[in-house]
């Protein structure tokens, strides 16, 4: 920096920022009123409860007046609550009240408890020390004794022990109330049951206290990060807030799902029953544990002692008595009531204790979050006389809000405190100076004019024009916007003042501001293509200039002083384009034609819709961010761009020139696999990206691709490149002709890429040839005569034949071939090799000669053809079928060859030169004779014998042997005759076997058939004798 140039000028320092800017007031020392007030922005307060004090006053003054209004009234206390959300500024209000209250006023004593970072003991000491007329040493000593040397674990044990005492002795059963509902009565009875039954000494038995003696249960209560653990740790940690733990016990603090609890309680059935109730409805138990904890905690940390002694409540009372004697009152100013946590009961007791003849009145103002206020004990809340809610926001005027801090860091802490002490002002304004006017030893800053002209200034009451440097209005708006829509003053001070000023100090000094990180600290929303903003800037300097022009220039050239201050080269700014007139600022456009020429004068000018390119413009800028901070395009936009590019590219693929049909069926499926929306990989954007053999088109974050995407979106919405007929604003700075040509070129390139990939994968008509060839092989494998299926038409319509069943070795090939035959080969031909004509667009013609050649290839060398088809990725179904068939053929050809050759040899041997028809007929005659004589064997196989002899009788042809040529092709070709031979061989084998068995039976039956004549003579002799005897019996009178 030189004395005569604003380059690298800073009117603040990192040190001054550190000394003056405190986003959390809890970190601001209580004696830092000057720093606090110098940057304080008056707060808009809504007086929700209580009578209006002074209609002419507003803001913090109202609170002060409400607090002190009743001073001198010894009949009543005054409670003033300042409520609001976290970070809304309520503590600032209380701090302001404290800063503006006269601590020397004899009428009262002020006890101020800032929301400073401190331990519980420090907090107590501050209270005790701030109470007049008491020592409190005994209480502090007790707290020291309780917590001084004890570990957190010891305190936790003590808490559980005190909880047991509370449950056993202190907590009383609740009596029924007249107006309680059934549910309330049930809840009360459950609670009383959980406490257990008192014994003769009044100690409860078989209640929750006894359950807590069970190790597993007490250990669960003491678990790390459990309710008790968090609470105890908070008393050891230095913190300005103890309001983060308002939830109470949860079910996780009880080992409800842990096994073994019931077993460990085995000897005490009442406790087992109680534990079952706890498991079923843990809510009542948790509520009772909360109640016990509230009683146990003060005792555990020494605030209360069963042996008596000081209590916080006692000290307050004693102090109020002392003050009453002096005729004074006690003013309590608490910046955050929540920091008292579970010891707030002692305070609340005082709040609700009214003044008396020996008790001084209380004047209390405290800040409390809305949530905590809602949970305040009802007795306390009803005694709050005034409630002020922090309304609106200090951020309603962000320039003024930040401007005060900018001025403070320029003034610096020492000077601010000096001014504060000099002024003695208590009315809150006019004491602090404007650094722009006094920076140079009371004279205005030498760059005031340049700086204010370049960066602007904000008029602040009591200060005048405060320069916004290093912000300007745009930059400050973007900085605040970056904090978010739920920004609080605390967050804005933290981000926009503290962080940004510290970094700006360093980088402006180094001459590299705005550095890359700035993009993450400001709202970096763009409305133009980047090159429309920095088209005039060399690439080496473009990033920094672009950041400056977006943030400080709103995508326009920067004011000269800004470039100088940030050490930026002065560039002329981007050249105007022919479409400048369509800039959204034009505000209207002519609707595009609806397909016909509109009559002159009938075109209607309508307001333009918002540009849909915003997200694209932000995406273009995310390249400068760290990877983790890049959001990419929104999911919906990614989908839109991908779909648009996909549709535009698809319309140029023109695969019908290669006889491939891609609008339905497999062609469509294959194309969808190879090319779809996911083929467009838009950098850093979500969504699946095409992999495998699919076409993948990388859309990286480059100016060319941003133009392409913008052009595609435009064309999608308009169908033309005429900015005059825009529905939404034409991208500023871009030439329609250039964008159209670039898009056309890209689409053509991508379409060629898709076409090339499709044909490479499918082979075009190769799919159809493969399907037809595979079908021919399958027909051969199922026993069709190869010579009959050498033409396309024969393969598509094979002759009806019943070639017989396959042998065991060929079964797997037969099954595989059957699956192949189920493939719709006509569809393959129609989709990949047919000319489509006529109105229906159905396939009409194919080149049969080409396919006949393909058949010859498959039938002559099936191994090679199948291998090629099985490794193709064109059609999964076809490939899968081919692979299965190839595997089956490879595994079965050898065994099948052996089977066929064996069958042929067996048939030849058994026929012994005869014809099967003759052998069958004769065998049937012989078998019939044997069967009639009961000699046929096997006895139950006559039907099968008949069937076998019929098979021989009906044998077709005159050649009954088969020769299997080499290789799988030979086995395939031999299937047709081989199946006949095998069938005849099997039939003849059965016949021969039956004949052999029958011969055996004949020989066995013929044994022992001699001696008939002798036997016949014996019978005759018997008949003759009987004849004589019968005659001898004749009656004779």
């Amino acid at each position: 920096m030189t004395l005569d140039t604003i380059e690298k000028f800073r009117c603040w320092s990192g040190e001054s920022v550190g000394q003056t800017v405190f986003p959390d007031i809890g970190a601001l020392a209580s004696d830092s009123d000057a720093v606090f007030l110098a940057a304080h922005t008056p707060v808009d307060l809504e007086h929700i409860k209580g009578p209006e004090v002074d209609p002419g006053k507003s803001g913090e003054v109202q609170v002060l007046d409400a607090l002190l209004q009743r001073v001198g009234d010894h009949e009543r206390n005054t409670l003033v609550a300042v409520t609001g959300g976290s970070g809304s500024g309520k503590s600032h209000v209380v701090r302001w009240v404290h800063a503006h209250i006269n601590g020397d006023d004899e009428r009262f004593h002020v006890l101020y408890v800032p929301r400073a970072v401190q331990t519980l003991r420090s907090l107590l000491r501050r209270i005790v020390d701030g109470l007049p007329g008491v020592e409190g040493t005994e209480l502090l000593a007790r707290v020291d004794a309780a917590m001084g040397k004890a570990s957190p674990g010891e305190i936790k044990d003590r808490v559980v022990s005190e909880m047991r005492i509370a449950l056993n002795w202190t907590i009383q059963e609740r009596d029924a109330e007249d107006d309680e509902t059934d549910d309330e009565a049930a809840a009360r009875e459950d609670r009383n049951a959980l406490l257990g039954e008192p014994d003769h000494q009044g100690r409860r038995r078989d209640g929750l206290a006894d359950l807590l003696e069970e190790s597993a249960i007490s250990q669960a209560l003491l678990r790390p990060d459990g309710r008790i653990d968090r609470l105890v740790r908070s008393y050891f940690d230095e913190t300005s807030r103890r309001d983060d733990d308002e939830e109470g016990f949860t079910a996780a603090d009880l080992p409800i799902r842990e096994r073994g609890i019931r077993r460990s309680l085995q000897g005490r059935p009442s406790l087992v029953e109680l534990w079952d109730i706890v498991g079923r409805t843990p809510e009542d138990t948790l509520s009772l544990l909360d109640e016990a904890l509230r009683l146990a905690l003060p005792a555990a940390i020494g605030l209360r002692s069963r042996a008596g002694g000081d209590t916080l409540d006692g000290l307050f009372t004693a102090s109020r008595r002392a003050l009453r004697e002096q005729g004074r009152e006690l003013v309590l100013i608490f910046e955050d009531l929540a920091q008292f946590g579970l010891v707030d009961g002692e305070l609340y007791d005082q709040f609700v204790t009214p003044p008396s003849s020996d008790l001084a009145p209380l004047r209390v103002v405290f800040a409390v979050t809305d949530g905590a206020y809602g949970k305040l004990e009802r007795t306390v809340r009803t005694r709050v006389e005034h409630e002020f809610r922090v309304g609106g926001s200090a951020l309603a005027e962000p320039q003024a809000f930040v401007g005060r801090y900018l001025n403070l860091v320029r003034v610096g802490r020492p000077r601010a405190q000096e001014l504060w002490s000099q002024s003695g002002a208590r009315d809150g304004s006019g004491w602090v100076e404007n650094a722009c006017d006094t920076k140079e030893n009371g004279q205005e800053c030498r760059f005031r004019g340049t700086c204010h002209a370049a960066f602007g200034a904000v008029e602040i009451a009591g200060l005048g024009a405060v320069g916004l440097y290093p912000y300007n209005a745009n930059a400050l708006r973007r900085a605040v916007a970056k904090v978010g829509t739920d920004a609080t003053p605390r967050l804005v001070v933290d981000e926009c003042v503290s962080t940004n000023l510290l970094e700006a100090d360093v980088h402006i000094g180094a001459g590299d501001y705005p550095h890359a990180r700035v993009q993450t600290q400001f709202d970096f929303t763009a409305t133009k293509l980047r090159e429309a903003v920095v088209g005039d800037v060399p690439a080496a300097d473009a990033d920094r200039v672009y950041r400056a022009r977006v943030i400080w220039g709103n995508e326009e050239p920067l004011a000269p002083g800004i470039e100088e201050a940030f050490t930026l080269h002065k560039y002329p700014g981007p050249a105007p384009t022919s479409s400048a007139g369509t800039n959204p600022t034009a505000g209207s456009a002519t609707m595009p034609d609806s397909g016909t020429t509109s009559p002159p004068g009938l075109s209607v000018a309508l307001p333009l819709a918002a540009s849909p390119l915003d997200s694209l413009l932000q995406w273009q800028n995310q390249g400068a961010l760290p990877e983790g901070e890049r959001d990419g395009l929104p999911e919906a936009d990614v989908s839109t761009y991908r779909t648009t590019l996909y549709n535009l590219t698809l319309s140029r693929v023109h695969l019908d020139q290669d006889l491939v049909h891609i609008y339905s069926g497999r062609g469509k499926e294959l194309l969808a696999r190879l090319f779809n929306q996911t083929s467009f990989a838009i950098q850093d954007s979500s969504g699946r990206v095409a992999g495998g053999d699919a076409v993948r088109i990388e859309i990286r974050r480059s100016p060319e691709n941003v133009r392409l995407l913008a052009a595609a979106y435009w064309f999608r919405d308009h169908g033309h490149f005429d900015p005059e007929r825009a529905k939404w604003p034409w991208p500023t700075g871009q030439s329609p002709e250039q964008m159209m040509l670039e898009l056309e070129g890209a689409l053509d390139r991508w379409a060629a890429l898709v076409r090339e990939r499709f044909l490479a994968v499918s082979g075009g008509a190769g799919i159809a040839r493969g399907a037809l060839g595979l079908r021919a092989l399958a027909l051969a494998a199922t026993g069709h005569d190869v010579d009959a299926i050498r033409s396309t038409s024969a393969v598509l319509n094979p002759p009806v034949a019943s070639p017989g069943q396959p042998g065991s070795a060929w079964q797997v090939v037969h099954v595989s071939a059957t699956k192949v035959l189920a493939l719709p080969v006509e569809e393959y031909l129609g989709e990949f090799a047919a000319v489509r004509q006529g109105q229906t667009g159905e396939p009409q013609l194919i080149d049969a000669l080409e396919f006949d050649g393909a058949l010859a290839e498959f039938l002559s060398d099936p191994t090679t053809a199948l291998s090629k088809l099985a490794t193709s990725s064109a059609d999964p179904a076809l490939t899968s079928a081919a692979r299965e068939f190839e595997n089956a053929l490879g595994a079965s050809a050898g065994p099948e060859r052996a089977e066929l050759e064996a069958a042929s040899a067996r048939l030849t041997a058994l026929l012994e030169g005869c014809l099967p028809q003759e052998v069958g007929a004769t065998a049937y005659q012989v078998g019939s004779a044997a069967n009639a004589a009961g000699l046929f064997r096997p006895h139950l196989k006559w039907r099968e014998f008949e069937s076998s002899t019929n098979a021989l009788i009906d044998a077709p042809g005159s050649e009954f042997s088969v020769t299997v040529e080499p290789g799988p092709a030979g086995v395939l070709s031999a299937q047709h005759r081989g199946r006949v031979v095998r069938r005849l061989a099997n039939a003849l084998t059965f016949v021969v076997d039956a004949m052999e068995q029958t011969v055996q039976e004949c020989r066995r039956s013929a044994v022992g058939a001699g001696g008939v004549a002798e036997l016949r003579d014996v019978v005759k002799a018997q008949v003759v004798e009987i004849h004589q005897l019968v005659q001898s019996l004749e009656r004779k009178e």
């Binding site: 058994l910 026929l911 012994e912 005869c914 003759e918 052998v919 007929a921 004769t922 065998a923 005659q925 012989v926 004779a929 044997a930 004589a933 009961g934 000699l935 021969v992 004949m995 052999e996 029958t998 011969v999 039976e1001 004949c1002 020989r1003 039956s1005 013929a1006 022992g1008 058939a1009 001699g1010 001696g1011 008939v1012 036997l1015 016949r1016 014996v1018 019978v1019 005759k1020 018997q1022 008949v1023 003759v1024 004798e1025 009987i1026 004849h1027 005897l1029 019968v1030 005659q1031 001898s1032 019996l1033 004749e1034 009656r1035 004779k1036 009178e1037």
Partner: protein
């Protein structure tokens, strides 16, 4: 059958032809064997009947002539002992034998009753008298003979049957002879032969019955007594 056949088929054809013939022979043997056994049984039966016929012919039996069909089939079977003829003949012979036996048993029963009276009643009387001193031994002897005779009364008689009948007749006569006084003998003899008329039941008879504790062993039944 075709002349040019595989060897295995020619062999089978021959074996089947041979075996078919053998089976037929076997079947005839089987039939004749069965007939021989059956005819042997029937031959025994007719021999027994012929013996009984010889014992009774002219005395208590006149003979039984068979139906003409029996003779026709006997003649046919003696020429052509085929299974069908033999089966029919055997059925007719069985029927004729049952007829002869029935009629012969009936005639024999009538004959024996004429000689000794009703065997059953006589057994009751002998049983009664076997407890009376003096005739007890004779009565017991008669009772035993009557038992043996009763057991063969349902069959055509044999020579043994005639012997037993003779012994029963003599035993009864011995018993009657041993009975004293005469009135008692006369009374009991009438009882043994179909019942005594009331006039034979004299005081003397009653006294004897009372003295021999036999008064409860007799009854009075309606009907005319058989004439001796």
């Amino acid at each position: 059958m075709a002349t040019n056949m595989p060897r295995w088929l020619s062999e089978a054809s021959t074996a089947v032809t041979d075996a078919t013939n053998a089976v037929q022979a076997q079947n005839e043997i089987s039939d004749l064997t069965e007939a021989r056994a059956e005819l042997a049984r029937q031959l025994c039966e007719f021999r027994r009947l012929a013996q009984a016929d010889a014992l009774g012919r002219g005395t208590w039996w006149l003979g039984q002539t068979a139906e003409p069909d029996v003779f026709r089939e006997l003649k046919k079977a003696s020429s052509f002992p085929q299974a069908r003829v033999l089966n029919s003949l055997q059925r007719r012979l069985d029927s004729f034998a049952r007829t002869v036996n029935t009629r012969m048993v009936l005639s024999w029963g009538e004959y024996s009753a004429r000689r000794t009276g009703n065997v059953t009643e006589l057994q009751m009387l002998a049983g009664t008298l076997s407890g009376i001193e003096g005739v007890a031994l004779l009565a017991a002897n008669l009772l035993e003979i009557l038992g043996q005779l009763g057991r063969i009364q349902t069959q055509a008689p044999t020579r043994e049957s005639l012997t037993l009948l003779d012994r029963a007749e003599k035993g009864l006569a011995d018993l009657e002879a041993a009975l004293q006084p005469n009135a008692v003998r006369e009374f009991l003899s009438a009882v043994a032969r179909g019942g005594a008329p009331l006039n034979l039941l004299t005081d003397e008879v009653r006294t004897w019955l009372t003295a021999n504790r036999a008064e409860l062993c007799f009854k009075i039944a309606a009907g005319a007594p058989e004439k001796s």
